[in-house]
Each structure stands twice: as C-alpha cells, then as structure tokens.
C-alpha cells in the first residue's frame, strides 16, 4: 500500500460520472438509458450494446430489484473501508433489466438470491453518495 493510495479519497467524481453521484447525494438513482431503443445500462457506456446507438442519457431508475447474489468481503481494497469490515457485497437485478454491483446498506439484515431490495443512499464525502441496497 503506497502512501499515495492510503491518502486517496474513497471516491472521486469526474466529469462523466458527476451527474450520477450528485443525484445519489439527492437520493435519486440515475442510470444511462439509450434514447434510441430504451435499453438501460450499467456501468457507463459510450455506445448502446443493444442497438449500437450513441445517444445515451441519464434517466431516473426505480431503484427496485431483486438480489442476484451476495458475498461477504473480509478484506478491503481501500484503507478507508477497513474499519467497516466485513462488507456485504451484493449484485442486484433492477426492474429496468440491468444488473448492478453494489453493497447492502450498513446494518441491513442478511439476504439470499431472489430477495426483493430497494436502493438507499450512503453519503461518501462532500456532495457524493453511494447507492446501496436495503431488503424490503
């Protein structure tokens, strides 16, 4: 672990992702949607993998879905996460037909594949938040 890495913030928005993180901080989940064919995407794409179109724009997603799978991480890729171990990683199949990789909300009860969940938001630094999931 280099000193530079230890000092790095957990998350930094850039120009492309800023709308996503800013919306999350306001409690809204944005995903890219193809204006040509309507397909939703995660993570960010420059070209729609369904129709090949290039008109992709952020749109608000339902935030509702079911657990595809889950895994409990006992090691952290970033020092800022060490105090929070173990981390409940979760892959969620959203109603929009998109599979997102995320984490369960802190103190959420255990889940199994197929469990219904909804998005909630966890602040990460100034003006940024992470979408995480809570069983419903």
């Amino acid at each position: 672990m280099s000193a530079e890495q230890a000092a790095a913030p957990l998350l930094e928005a850039d120009e492309r992702s800023a709308p996503f993180f800013a919306a999350a901080a306001r409690g809204r989940l944005l995903l890219q949607r193809c204006e040509g064919c309507g397909a939703w995407h995660f993570p960010l794409r420059r070209r729609c993998s369904s129709c090949g179109g290039t008109r992709l724009a952020f749109a608000e997603a339902s935030g509702r879905g079911v657990v595809h799978s889950h895994a409990r991480a006992h090691r952290a890729p970033h020092p800022a996460l060490r105090a929070r171990l173990p981390l409940e990683l979760v892959a969620v199949d959203l109603e929009e037909g998109v599979r997102v990789m995320a984490r369960l909300a802190a103190d959420a009860p255990a889940v199994r594949a197929g469990a219904p969940v909804r998005v909630v938001f966890e602040p990460v630094g100034e003006g940024l938040a992470l979408p995480v999931f809570q069983p419903v």
Partner: protein
Amino acid sequence: MPRHPLRAATAICGLGLTEVGRVYDRPASDFAAEAVLLALEDAGLERRELDGLLVSAGMSGGPDLSLALQLGLPELRVCTQLNAYGSTAAQMVQYAALAVASGMARHVACVFADAPLRRGESTGAAYAGGRRAPRGFGGLGAAYGYGGPIPWYALAAQRHMDLYGTTQDQLGAIAVATRAWAAGNPRATFREPITLADYRASPWVVEPFHVLDCCLVSNGGACVIVTGAERARDLRRPPVYVHGMGQAHRFDLGRADLEVATRTPALESGLAAFAMAECTPADVTVCQLYDCYTYTVLVTLEDYGFCAKGEGGPFVAEGRLGPGGALPTNTGGGELSSFYLWGMTPLSEAVIQGRGDGGARQVPDNRRILVSGNGGVLSHHATLLLSPEAA
C-alpha cells in the same frame, strides 16, 4: 458421421516447465525464454526447427513478441501474442494445431510466463492491491469493496449455493481432493494434506471463499510444442494427441436476464470438443480443470455434463475427484495447491499424465484427458481432449 479430419492430426511433442512459485528477480520474459528452450530439449528439436511462436503474457506485462529475438529465432512462419486470460493456454494449442494441420507451420511453441510476485509483497497484492482505484465510475467498485477477481467469483459461487443448496463443505471437498493430489507432485507449492476441518478453519477472504478456496499466485513459465501426428512419433517423447477442441465465450453485459454465475461457456466449448473427439463425459478418464477457485471446478463439471446442473456439490463430495476416486481431477495439485500459471497449470499436467510421467500421482487410465481453460469471470472458455493413443 465421418471422423473429424483434425482429430489426432496433431500432437503435443514438447513440454517445458521452469521453476515455479516464489522465484524472484527474474522478468517474465526470461521465464518464457527458458520454458521454450526446455520444451525444445524435451522434444529433441533444434531451435532452428521451431517455425511457430505463440506468446501469452500474464499480469506482470511480459513476455511479448521480442521473445523471438531473445531466443534467436530470426525466421518464423507463425508468430503472435494472444490473450483470453485463463483460457489462452488451451486456445494456443488449438491455434497451433490449426496452423500445423494447414501447413502454415511445422513446430509451434505455445508459451506463457508471468512474474507478478515481488519480494516482500503479499500474494494478494500481486493481483489486487497494487493499483490505485480510478476516478469516477471506474472507482465505484473499489468504493463498494470490490477488489481483484475474488469478489466476482464469490458472488457466482454464492448464487449457486442459494439456488441449488451447494454447501461450504462441498466446495471444501474440492480443496481437500486437490491437495491430496499435490502430495504426489514434487513441484507443488503446498504438499501437506488438509482435512475439511483445516478448510473450515482457514481464514475468510470473501465469503463463501476461504483462503483455501483460492488459487496460488506464482512466478514461472511453461511451454508446449505442437506438431503433426506423424512428426510427433519421430520425436524423443511419447506424443499426446489432440483429439478434440472447442471454445466458447459468454459475457456479463450487465443484463439482468443473462445467467452467467451458474451457467458458463464450458457448456458450448465442451460440446464442440466432445463432438470432435467422438466421446462423452462418461469416456473421460482424467480431468485437468482450470481451478482459479474451488467453485470453478464445480460449475465446469456441471456444464461439461458430468452431472446435472445444480448437482455439482454432491458430485464432488465423497472423494470422487481425489486419488483413488472415480474421476481423478487436477492430479498435479492444480492451481489451488501446486502452482498458478493460468491455463498452463492444467495443460502441463495433462501432458505429464498423457506421457505416463506422473510418478506417484500417475493415474491408472490416461486414455481420455479433458483439459479446460477459463478466463475473465467465467467468460472465456477453451477445452481440449487429449490422449496418448492416436486411434
């Protein structure tokens, strides 16, 4: 149905394995050069007879096409670098077989080398910890707690457990069986037998994976040489014929309707290889399966058709895969216990078993050897069916 024209038309005639494991202060390119020279010597070939070179690099960046210069090979008829991660080694044999069968080249070396381990650094650092997470969306995974490939495979394994009732001890049975084989391999990194109790007591990495569910990280190089069947019979060592080959690739595109965690491209890749070799899983006498994680073995066996989907857990339990079991699998100790040179780990052990060179771990019946390569997160798959018999 007529016999496939390429069935047993080519053979592996040379194998070169360098020292593997915590071998420091050598670049991957040097391991690669040594592996090629060892394979040439093993086959009884002169360097000038080599007219094909396929190169595969691992995580540490080398080797590349400059290997031809290092080896003093001024003229080649086939030369390129390939990468489909853990499926590359089996793929290289396939492309080499095609090149030889078409007459493009006569002796094609397929080489992989990697040196991700650095003195004083942990194994985990070699694959996950050394990189700073990128800004923006690219940093999202690390902010959640995803680092390296382990969480992705852990999610896949946990889904199998949730859907089919696969148990922790069934994953553990694979680790135990593989370690039992490693005891017979002088080259293996870990040779001390383990029990299910040892497995359960090993630290968690990402549940459902203990440390003992995860492969090693190794420095080293391996090379096989492919030539025509006739030519192989004239060379120093017994030929190991290529009877069947297949590939398939399926990707997690982020689409919720695609099942990639519990259903892998081993299915299509295996069907192609079995069709070419005119055999079925029931004919396979020994398996060398890519075992980056215990779960990879379980799901690969299911998708090849050794058991029904969801029944991999009971199938691997009760010692079936270990020494004396009905389906000897990863007889050199695999990537879990022996060494991790991507797809060269199963492939090199297949050649050793095919030649009858397994010593204490030699299987009694080596007539149908199944080799798998797996890359990405269960995304890229390649299959070989090998045999010491040409018929």
